[in-house]
């Protein structure tokens, strides 16, 4: 299915957010996540299915003012 991953079109067959995060090579605690603009806590990722066209955000620490 096609989803939006960090603002770009992305093909994935992973059924849930935890699988997608792992497939991207991230350790679970290194990133924070959201689907369709709503925060998904780390412990809920495996119960959060990915649906056609959904918008996934995977974010990490960065510099800020």
């Amino acid at each position: 299915m096609k989803i939006q991953l960090n603002g770009a079109s992305h093909d994935t067959e992973h059924p849930d957010l935890a699988a997608l995060v792992a497939a991207q090579g991230h350790e679970g605690g290194e990133v924070a996540t959201a689907i369709d603009g709503l925060f998904v806590p780390r412990q809920n990722r495996s119960q959060s299915p990915l649906n056609e066209g959904c918008a996934v955000e995977i974010v990490a620490p960065m510099e800020g003012g």
Partner: protein, 276 residues
């Protein structure tokens, strides 16, 4: 006797945590990671602001920027204050705050809800609503706001214990655009911790805010974009300390006419009336 909170405190108090330094420094825009770390050390700041960004997958060949920064910033030993920079709606800000809380493992959030792109002026209506939601969810909110008294009152009613009014637009270096309003805010909320956030370009401007009785200064660009960021961080540290000391010392009132500082009675060639 000094209270723990508020402008007469010896230490900066933020949601129950105390800090020797009254300087909060931003971590963005520095020329290199090494200079960022050196600038933090030179600033003596106990608090560093951080943010979130989209992280490329590790299989993409562009991975690891987030973890590299995370490792670096932990070396500073500073307390981290994540922000919601770039958020323009309540929903974005609230969800970004949740992601920051999980990632940085802190209830602290510098809440930004931007309402206008040219000035990066806060959307104060969205700010108050987001603050109310986040305070109810256990966050300790540091709202980036204007110098508006009524908005400040509503942010306090929402549960904020710290207010961070702008001096002038973010990154502008214009200093305190409206010292009158900042003075009024200080006078109106004598027991609230007030931090001037944004717009400070020079150490003298930081000192001016501290002389007004502000509790701390948050700045980023003025250090990061200076010719020598480490030296500028040190200069700001000294100015903030000097401004605080001046506030505590009690300044004289300005006056229109001269008032001689040297006693004139009996001085040579005195032009006053002669003693009989």
């Amino acid at each position: 006797m000094d209270s723990i909170k508020g402008p007469s405190s010896k230490k900066l108090s933020l949601y129950g945590s105390e800090f020797e330094s009254r300087f909060l420094i931003g971590s963005a825009q520095h020329p290199s990671p090494a200079i960022l770390l050196d600038a933090i050390v030179a600033s003596r700041a106990g608090i560093v602001t951080v943010s979130l960004r989209r992280e490329a997958g590790k299989n993409s060949g562009k991975d690891g920027a987030g973890q590299q920064f995370w490792s670096l910033i932990q070396q500073s030993g500073a307390r981290l204050l994540p922000n919601t920079a770039g958020c323009k709606t309540v929903k974005e800000a609230v969800n970004t705050a949740h992601m920051a809380r999980e990632l940085f493992d802190t209830p602290w959030i510098k809440l930004e809800v931007i309402g206008e792109d040219d000035t990066l002026q806060p959307d104060v209506f969205g700010l108050v609503e987001a603050a109310r939601i986040l305070c109810a969810e256990g966050f300790q909110v540091f709202p980036y706001t204007t110098d508006d008294l009524v908005v400040a009152d509503k942010l306090l009613a929402a549960g904020c214990e710290v207010l961070m009014p702008w001096g002038s637009p973010i990154g502008s270096g214009r200093g305190l655009n409206n010292p009158f309003a900042l003075r009024a805010l200080r006078a109106h909320f004598p027991d609230t911790t007030l931090v001037v956030d944004a717009g400070i370009g020079l150490p003298s401007q930081a000192a001016q805010a501290m002389e007004l009785g502000y509790d701390a200064i948050l700045l980023n660009t003025a250090v990061a974009k200076a010719g020598d960021p480490v030296a500028m961080a040190r200069a700001f540290a000294q100015a903030i300390e000097a401004g605080r000391l001046a506030f505590q010392a009690g300044a004289i009132e300005a006056r229109d006419m001269a008032a001689p500082s040297t006693p004139v009675l009996g001085s040579p060639f005195w032009h006053g009336e002669h003693e009989q």
